[in-house]
Symmetry: C2
Subunit: 632 residues, 2 copies
Amino acid sequence: MANSSSDTSRKNVIELNDNKAGMTGIDKARISQIIEEASRGSKFYQRQQAKRQADAKRAEETRRKIDALSREALQAGERAGDAEIRRAVSAADFSRTHVHIDMDAFYAAVEMLDNPRLRHVPMAVGGNDMLSTSNYAARRFGVRAAMPGFIAKKLCPQLVIVPCRFRRYKEVSRQVQAVLADYDPQFSAASLDEAYLDITDHLANRQAINLLPGPKATSVAELRYRVFISSSLTASAGIGPNPMVAKIGSDFNKPNGQYRVAGSSDRVLEFIRQLPVRKVPGIGRVTEAWLNSLGVSTCRDLYEQRGALYHACRPLTYQFYMRACLGLSGGFGYGRNGPDRKSVSVERTFQATDSLTWLLDEKLPELCESLVRHLTKSGFLGRTVTIKLKLDTFEVLTRSHGLPSATDSVQAIQSAAAALLRQEFLPGRPAPRIRLLGVRVSSLTPRKAVIADCSSGVGSAGPKQARLDELLVRSTKTIAETSTKTNTTAAVCSSSSNETVSKSSTPVTSSTSENASKFNLVESTSVETKTSASSASESALSCPICSASQPGGLAGLNRHLDFCLSRSAIQTAVNDYSNDGSACFTPGSNSASSRKRIEAASSSGRPAGGSASGGGKRARIAADGRTGVGTI
Amino acid sequence: MANSSSDTSRKNVIELNDNKAGMTGIDKARISQIIEEASRGSKFYQRQQAKRQADAKRAEETRRKIDALSREALQAGERAGDAEIRRAVSAADFSRTHVHIDMDAFYAAVEMLDNPRLRHVPMAVGGNDMLSTSNYAARRFGVRAAMPGFIAKKLCPQLVIVPCRFRRYKEVSRQVQAVLADYDPQFSAASLDEAYLDITDHLANRQAINLLPGPKATSVAELRYRVFISSSLTASAGIGPNPMVAKIGSDFNKPNGQYRVAGSSDRVLEFIRQLPVRKVPGIGRVTEAWLNSLGVSTCRDLYEQRGALYHACRPLTYQFYMRACLGLSGGFGYGRNGPDRKSVSVERTFQATDSLTWLLDEKLPELCESLVRHLTKSGFLGRTVTIKLKLDTFEVLTRSHGLPSATDSVQAIQSAAAALLRQEFLPGRPAPRIRLLGVRVSSLTPRKAVIADCSSGVGSAGPKQARLDELLVRSTKTIAETSTKTNTTAAVCSSSSNETVSKSSTPVTSSTSENASKFNLVESTSVETKTSASSASESALSCPICSASQPGGLAGLNRHLDFCLSRSAIQTAVNDYSNDGSACFTPGSNSASSRKRIEAASSSGRPAGGSASGGGKRARIAADGRTGVGTI
DNA sequence: TCGCAAACA
DNA sequence: TACTTGTTTGCGA
DNA sequence: CAACAGAAC
DNA sequence: TACTGTTCTGTTG
Ligand SMILES: Nc1ncnc2c1ncn2[C@H]1C[C@H](O)[C@@H](COP(=O)(O)OP(=O)(O)OP(=O)(O)O)O1
Ligand SMILES: Nc1ncnc2c1ncn2[C@H]1C[C@H](O)[C@@H](COP(=O)(O)OP(=O)(O)OP(=O)(O)O)O1
Ligand SMILES: [Mg+2]
Ligand SMILES: [Mg+2]
Ligand SMILES: [Mg+2]
Ligand SMILES: [Mg+2]
């Protein structure tokens, strides 16, 4: 009778997520215990507990379902898996060289750069309520991204927390990306701190000029070196025949390291087989737990359990698993002009309230106005409006509605959102207590003729995704056979054909770095990004705008002239801005200068984890635009 | 050579402000020391230091100026003072009975009411970054309003801080005010937690009905008792012949006490003479220090130093001092339809930034849109736009500009504000680092014909300010003569004709409270203020709005109908709202019900302190609408 | 009219 | 980590 | 299409 | 005191 999910209680409800570079070999149990104690009894904790229960239940259901499978069903599953694998392999292309670059402890590294006192202490970026990331010293204490600051302090009382300066990181990101563009002008930025490159052409050009014909890894080390020279920050890199292995590789020797998986099916399999499924991007905490409970821990297990798995998930997910265990999963790096953005949203956490009036009169307008600024700036109209509510229990609800036509009007969006919100405060039920309100618009269509183009800075050309369609059969067996262990400790350089570059205090490119400047590099190391004071220089012109006579005497009149000049300049700029939607809007009449660059739309495009409900960690910020963790 | 202002260093830069009920007899020096240590070295601290220096310098200048005065000048000053006093006294009216009611530890008391666990511990309302107020237990530790939470924690590690719930306090405030209205329908609310009443008429009516002819203090005790019955909160009261002494009196026996100054010139003087000048509303920390340095500590000193003082300040301020030392200062309670509001402003603190772009594109629009919501809601147009900047050094700047005509358009206000902001980022200077941006509009004129009237709930009639113009001479001597010490320890009830009501756990009105309901009381004790779920009941009507055909089948269509109904209801409501500007906007088509009441415009109207530059305490909040301390 | 500083809740 | 927000007043230029 | 959940940075 | 904000994807009904 006793439901087996009832003994979830023996495990910690909130456990340290140590799936991050720099967190190996730490005392996970002790740290988890501290986290648990700091949270126990809170509403957040209770919600986590409920989610974990649901996870366990779902896993149990899946297990039951699998146990009930007939031998025939299992074999059918395996056949389906083999077919999937055949298709994936036949579409695979091992001829190109993909690189994934990921900055080390990015926000934290920037802060350490700007403030030397932070360099030798455990520190994190964020606020008391939520951290965006931590440096590697702090990670030794269990302090990491998405952890509340006040808990981090319990793990590490000496921890120094510094507030988030998103725009600064964006500046630095631009410097880094300027280097990347030299290796692949079409590189695809997945976030401020990471990007996918296809350096095949770059390598070819290199060879053509007959310079530095060394191994691919050398070029990448050089790239990292140049990033360091340009930004004073270290990056890690993964190199492989497709973006997936490149991505995994970039984490392999973090920080300040790189790892290469050679461009052959065998080498890829050798690398991937032994990896815990959690390393596969797209398999997160919940899916990992779900898979583990089905006896799947490593990617090899994914293959071996393919018969059962087939019956445990939907076809698309199954395809994802099969490709993942081959190291061939797709959907990572898009081209620079990758797919248009699909939604724009704004959400904010606040003191929980049950006042519909306040939500409608104060919060919703703020959100909608902010949303429309973003929407307008990005040059889209939206047709679907979704509101998001987080209750004070941390449960999340969404409600959406399709408008008759696409819009970017505050009026339209706000009234739709308001209607949705009001539906949640109907007379019968007790008013919900809301701790977060969000508004999203989707079903986007580009506004007007010319879409706002923010990307004109670096490069432009077409898509670049390594396509995973038709190709050859073979390797099905290869997986089942090769089961030798590969050296994962990353020490000896090129001990196998999968190469490792060891970590030193700065990236070393032997002699390569000397010649780096021979490639068509713009010496754009220190991009001047403070657009602040620009465009005020037009105050020399004279202009009668305000028309009305101005009291205030001599100096007063002069001041007024300056003022109106300045005001008209702004009008001009505002128009420019709404018309071209530039991300890096520099106000003023003397535009034309100022570098514009795309804001790196975060796109990963991998399938979501299984079908489990499972956990998740959320946290609060501490302030308006104060110390928050947000991206704007 | 050594400037005398250089030895300011011996005193604490940031000193505990213990000028608050519940903070007498605490170890100010020790507490100040802790505060000092918690702050030392911070930018905030440095700014305070600079201000204190400036204070000291100005005081020194004043002292020098006074020392240089001739005997004739001093005598002329005294004559001017005497004239001022003659005028004030001749205008004085001791025939009416004014009452000032002030809730005890208001926000904190509400929280203690709502959460019994807080009742017996030191607690405060606010966030880690700033407290709005504290309960009396916390005050024993030096914890008080306008103190950052993290410093409060050092003073009192057990302190419990609970977030601010402004709307809840507003609800409670309405309950309290409903009681006050029975004693003076024209009462003037100075803030959520305090009000001025003129109960002369009430007392007359009482006597007319021949009920409870007891002393005035009894009526007030009864009032406080009724407040307690209605709200479960205690209030303190001051009773006197004018609002000034009433105001001072309400603090005299706080918490849960009252004090009466009888309505004669002698009694008022007896009361006022011995008071530290700091007790006079309008004399704050800086002015106190300035006066002290001139040898003026008590109100009597104000009189005695009137000759010198005359030469140390401007006529208006001098008049204020002279009236203050008579206990006759004016400008306190207005009538319910007191003067229209003079400005509307919004300001926000954030992580300091030097990015003009961000300020212009993100923050300024937010502020302006929020501002215009308030402006619209209050039914005004404004002609003057002022921006406020706080630098990361905590220096504050304001820049303003008069528009050609009054407006409430976001466009107009924002572009003016933007122009002003841009002026602070001119090419020459280094970009300032801004930690706070604010926008204010002033020179208000009521919008359209009918001004939005939110006050129709309680009472309506005209102004009520006790006027302090022409009257009789006399008391000049009276002051100089009576110098006996009056009992300030407030224990024995009516030991003099200045009455004290001792504190008990609830206000005691002997038998009075029994008869209270015989006065024309609405039994409006529990005003239902949750306007939340109203107006959703119209979803029974059918309505084709969206016109376009809706996909989604049967239930889908029904849902869509509900939606559009709801949406149209909102439209209606929004229109209502912008047309009548009601403060207590209840959305929905079925309006007509729902009590409306004025939002108690905070008006005090006393002269500003001296002319020194001097100190001030500022602090940060922690979040958006999160834990903040703000009034909206 | 503008900028600053003080005051209060 | 971290020192508010909204409104009014007076002084001095 | 709408709601939910997982994932990533 | 206190557990984020933005975007995308897949599953389920
Ligand atoms: N959960 C999160 N919430 C908000 N911001 C985040 C979150 N995770 C990461 N970020 C921000 C801060 C990071 O510095 C930046 C890049 O993320 P990521 O590359 O995953 O980590 P990292 O660069 O800080 O460390 P590393 O890559 O060395 O593990 O994105
Ligand atoms: N500096 C401030 N900043 C923000 N809000 C404040 C500030 N001071 C007071 N408040 C709010 C919280 C208070 O409860 C409320 C009433 O103020 P006030 O009457 O002066 O103190 P109080 O009612 O908390 O204690 P008491 O009146 O018993 O001394 O106004
Ligand atoms: Mg990184
Ligand atoms: Mg990254
Ligand atoms: Mg009070
Ligand atoms: Mg008060």
